[in-house]
Symmetry: C2
Subunit: 211 residues, 2 copies
């Protein structure tokens, strides 16, 4: 059975995705900096791999067929960590994936990563990091899905989404829980071709929106 | 006559390069944030273009045939500026160069940019930015020369350099003045093929070392 490596499995979306995948009976390799952050999980299908993303973490790719990169330096760290995690760790993950013959790389990117200079000034360094990481992935020759969620919220999931950017900027948001549900869908139903898509809460089922 | 755009012409190396080029009778378009920083220059071959590298600066490329990117965010700014200047402005410069049919793009990079993870920890965010900017340039399909000087010093130029990394790490350095002299040589004598080279003070003339 195939195994999915989740890079950043103890993050806000990562943990929900890990839960979704285990509930679905999927095998998960969870890469985290501190395994205690996943102590609530007790599942034979879960392997926890402790690694520091600023160092070499290629060993985590062993025996995995898919990868979800959902790590982020977080809002409270400086731009140096944005460079080392959101950009450099993502680039190295794509390189490791190539070396390890990974069949599908799912990158959790951000709305605005397509055009960093058009984003709010305070967001631009982050958006540049995401943009360059996405660009690096695209050039690796791996099969990829790049997911660019709108503004993330902690609301209850509606399981109703859209890939079309709402005309009203205030509607360009999505719950972290719905992102995690969409990621589960993408893991289980990889598209035939490479895909870059934005994601927002909307009015379609996840299967309809992503079919 | 061809005109060279120097991006970052009021920086420590940029100003020396501007001086060298004007003394040599070359036409220079000097892109700077503040034109007062070049008030010491009075030369009919010099056009000063004021622009903010965090904004659009494509107009600077008009009527230029070569580009030297020697801008840097400087040692006293945060990593957010490293992302916006050393990485993002460099990437956009390569894109603008492509749009404007520039014949040769000379990027001033850094020793260690080939392998950021092997660099000193405090240098890694900077080296990642330089690495990704170099990678982006290489993929544009422009003719390029990427110059990676060793540790920069303000000593008097010796005009003796080498492209071979000294075995003793303490010798892996070069004066800013010699970098500026080597850049003048590269502007005047573009190699037939793309080139990525490190630069240190050594025991060859600039022409011998770079031939």
């Amino acid at each position: 059975m195939s195994r999915t490596l989740i890079i950043g499995a103890s993050g806000q979306i990562g943990k929900k995705l890990t839960r979704n995948m285990l509930n679905d009976g999927q095998k998960v390799a969870a890469l985290v900096r501190d395994k205690n952050k996943l102590s609530e999980f007790d599942d034979a299908n879960l392997s926890i791999i402790e690694a520091d993303l600023t160092k070499d973490f290629e060993h985590a790719f062993e025996d995995c067929t898919q990868v979800v990169f959902v790590a982020g330096s977080g809002g409270n760290t400086g731009a140096d960590k944005t460079i080392l995690i959101d950009l450099w760790a993502a680039c190295r993950a794509a390189d490791y994936a190539k070396n390890n013959d990974i069949k599908h790389f799912i990158m959790v990117s951000s709305i605005g990563a397509d055009a960093p200079s058009s984003g709010p000034e305070e967001m631009q360094p982050y958006l540049v990091a995401k943009h360059m990481a996405d660009e690096h992935l695209v050039q690796r020759g791996l099969k990829y899905t790049i997911v660019r969620p709108g503004t993330l919220t902690d609301d209850e999931p509606s399981e109703q989404i859209t890939t079309e950017r709402p005309s009203n900027k205030d509607d360009a948001k999505i719950t972290r829980a719905d992102v995690a549900k969409a990621l589960l869908y993408i893991v289980k139903n990889p598209a035939d071709s490479n895909l870059v898509t934005e994601l927002f809460n909307g009015n379609k089922s996840i299967a309809q929106a992503l079919k």
